[in-house]
Amino acid sequence: MLLQNYNKNLIQEKKQYQITKKRHQSLLNKLLIMHNLKKKRENIKKLTKIMPAMMGKKIILQKLTINNELLLLEASGNNHQTINKFVSKLAQLNFLETPKLTVLSENTNNQIKFSVQAGILDK
């Protein structure tokens, strides 16, 4: 009888524990999502801030699109060496996947038009 009462109390306490645990988990998840979103935002900000320094004066940015998953960039440069240097600098960023360089058109007014695509990692 005593054991049964004990058992009943334990079941009640267990329910309470499960509710608390769920609540705790839900809050933790929300805070974690917010933290991740903030981290991504800071990565995007960092990327746009350092872009001019990475490009230098020889590369002219024409279009830059960044969303939560992808960076897409269109620009023009005066020679391949400068462009490759820029792409290798991009590749060094730890929150970017390996950038994919595509040359769109060559020697239009002594300029090489190119595009770079890279995935943004969850870091």
Partner: protein
Amino acid sequence: MMKFTNYDFQQIGSWSIKIKIAVVFVACILLAISSYFFVISNKLYQLKIAQDNERQLKQYYTSTHRKISQLNVLYQQLQTLEKIYNYKMKHASFQNQTFITNNIYQGAKMLGLKVSTIKFQPPRIFKNLPMQPISLSVRGNYQLLNKLIDKLTKLLPHITLEKLQFIQEQKSYLCNIGLAIINTSLKMDTPPLEKGD
């Protein structure tokens, strides 16, 4: 066999003492064996079940007790988390559309940027978090546009940058910004606590 016929069962009292003891001994053994099979064995089986049950209940009690002993720590952690969450949400939830619009315009104006559009999209839910997406287009110098984004993230700490697009125009850049404000109150997925809250 012949000897047994010599004993009269009607006159047991006349039997020798040795025979009497032997008969009583055999009767006792028979009684013990029959009582074991008909009474005790059943009780023993019940006792075994009860013992198993008791062992299981003890194990259950021990494991549950261990969990319950962590409950107080969990309550304290939960309260701390709720305080942090409420604090964060307090800063996110008070801002209305006019407040946000005014701040974006003022921020852009101070930096010499020109705001083309500000559009409040229909609110949506992202992983249980209600969000207010806003899209805006601003024209100006690349560095100044970056400063505006910086300002916005300082002013509204709970915004996410969903899309950022810089398009080169003749002398400046057109910047299309897709952002979302996390706008939520403390909504629980589970029923509220009954105690310790």
